[in-house]
C-alpha cells in the first residue's frame, strides 16, 4: 500500500475513497448530496421487484411477453415502474425468455455488467472471478453444482453482458399457479431465476 496510509488494506481503500470524494467536492465536480441521491435511487427504486413485476406481466400477457423480448426498453416502459429508463443503463436492457426446450443464463465475463434497473445490484458471487470464468467455460456443470440440473435435451444459452446489452431472464411460469394474480405471481419470482441460475419453484401447496 501507499506510503502514509494504514497497512490494513480495507482501511486504506476506505481512506482513498474518502479522500477522492473530498477532492471532487472541493473542486466543485460533485456534491455529497448528489452521491447520496444516486445511491438512494439504487437502494429504493432499482430493485429486483421491478424485474419480478415484468416477469409476472409476461406470464399473464403473451403479447407483452413477445414485445418484451423484441424491444425490451419499450415494453418495460409500458409498466408503471419507478425506473429512470434513460439513465442507469436502462436503454441497454435485453430480456431473454426460457421455454421448455431452452434455458438462458446471464453472465458477465469481463467485469460485472448487470441490469440494474430491473434486478438491482448484483449479488457478490456474480462478480466473483471464479463464477465469471467457470460459468462461461462450463455453464452446465456450474448450474448443476448450484442446484439446477438441466435435462440434457434442454439447450443452454449463455448471454455475456456488456455495456450495450444487459441481459435478464424471463423464467418459465411454474406449475400450480393457474388463477394467481399478477401480484401473487411477482412474489414468486427470485433474482436467481432472472439471472438464470435457478428456476422459479412451484408455490407450496
Amino acid at each position: 500500500m501507499q506510503f502514509g496510509y494504514p497497512e490494513n488494506r480495507e482501511a486504506a481503500s476506505a481512506a482513498r475513497v474518502r479522500a477522492l470524494e473530498a477532492l471532487l467536492i472541493e473542486k466543485g465536480v460533485i456534491t455529497g448530496a448528489t452521491v447520496d441521491k444516486v445511491l438512494g435511487y439504487f437502494e429504493t427504486d432499482m430493485t429486483p421487484l421491478n424485474g419480478a413485476k415484468i416477469v409476472a406481466r409476461a406470464w399473464t400477457d403473451p403479447e407483452f411477453a413477445e414485445r418484451l423480448v423484441k424491444d425490451t426498453p419499450a415494453a418495460v416502459a409500458e409498466l408503471d415502474l419507478p425506473i429512470g429508463m434513460d439513465g442507469a443503463e436502462g436503454e441497454h436492457l435485453q430480456a431473454v425468455a426460457n421455454t421448455r426446450g431452452v434455458h438462458n443464463l446471464v453472465i458477465c465475463t469481463l467485469c460485472s455488467c448487470f441490469p440494474w434497473p430491473v434486478l438491482g445490484l448484483p449479488p457478490y458471487w456474480y462478480k466473483d472471478p471464479t463464477f465469471r470464468a467457470r460459468a462461461a467455460r462450463e455453464p452446465r456443470v456450474v448450474l448443476k453444482e448450484i442446484g439446477l440440473d438441466l435435462d440434457p435435451s434442454v439447450e443452454l444459452r449463455v448471454w455475456d453482458s456488456s455495456g450495450h446489452s444487459r441481459w435478464f431472464v424471463v423464467p418459465q411460469r411454474p406449475a400450480g399457479t393457474d388463477g394467481m394474480s399478477e401480484e401473487e405471481l411477482a412474489a414468486l419470482v427470485t433474482t436467481e431465476s432472472m439471472i438464470g441460475i435457478a428456476e422459479v419453484p412451484a408455490p407450496a401447496a
Binding site: 501507499q2 506510503f3 502514509g4 496510509y5 488494506r9 480495507e10 481503500s13 476506505a14 482513498r16 475513497v17 474518502r18 479522500a19 477522492l20 470524494e21 477532492l23 471532487l24 473542486k27 465536480v29 460533485i30 448528489t34 452521491v35 447520496d36 441521491k37 444516486v38 445511491l39 439504487f42 429486483p48 439513465g87 442507469a88 443503463e89 469481463l110 467485469c111 460485472s112 455488467c113 438491482g120 445490484l121 448484483p122 449479488p123 457478490y124 458471487w125 462478480k127 466473483d128 472471478p129 471464479t130 463464477f131 470464468a133 467457470r134 467455460r137 462450463e138 456450474v142 453444482e145 448450484i146 442446484g147 455495456g163 427470485t190 433474482t191 436467481e192 441460475i197 435457478a198
Partner: protein
C-alpha cells in the same frame, strides 16, 4: 485471459442469496455512488468507466494466483474510478498522486 483452475468451486452460499448485503463496507458504497453519479451527471460516459474496470480486473487476473492477493471487487472499482477521473480531466495526475501519498 488465463482462466482459474477448474478445481476451484463456487461459494457454498452462491444460491438463495437474495437478502445478502450488496456492499460489505461503506467505502464500497461510496465508491459505487461516486462513479455512477459522475456518469449520470455527464462527466464521462458509463462505457469509459466500464472499460477501465475491465482493464483493472484483467490486470489482476493476469497475475499468477500466488501473487494476486484476495479478490476484492471494489478495489478494482476504485482503481477504475481513479483512472477515469484522470483520463477525463476531472482530477490531475499529480493531484491523485498527492492524494495517495505517493
Amino acid at each position: 485471459m488465463e482462466a482459474p483452475a477448474t478445481t476451484a468451486t463456487l461459494h457454498e452460499s452462491c444460491i438463495a442469496d437474495v437478502d445478502a448485503p450488496t456492499f460489505d463496507a461503506d467505502w464500497q458504497r461510496r465508491a459505487f455512488g461516486v462513479a455512477v453519479a459522475l456518469s449520470e451527471f455527464g462527466h464521462y460516459p458509463w462505457d469509459a468507466f466500464q472499460q477501465q474496470l475491465i482493464v483493472a480486473i484483467r490486470d489482476w487476473e493476469s497475475v499468477p494466483a500466488s501473487g494476486q492477493g484476495t479478490w476484492q471487487y471494489y478495489d478494482h472499482w476504485l482503481a477504475a474510478l481513479e483512472r477515469v477521473l484522470v483520463s477525463h480531466g476531472l482530477v490531475a495526475e499529480d493531484e491523485l498522486r498527492a492524494l495517495l501519498g505517493e
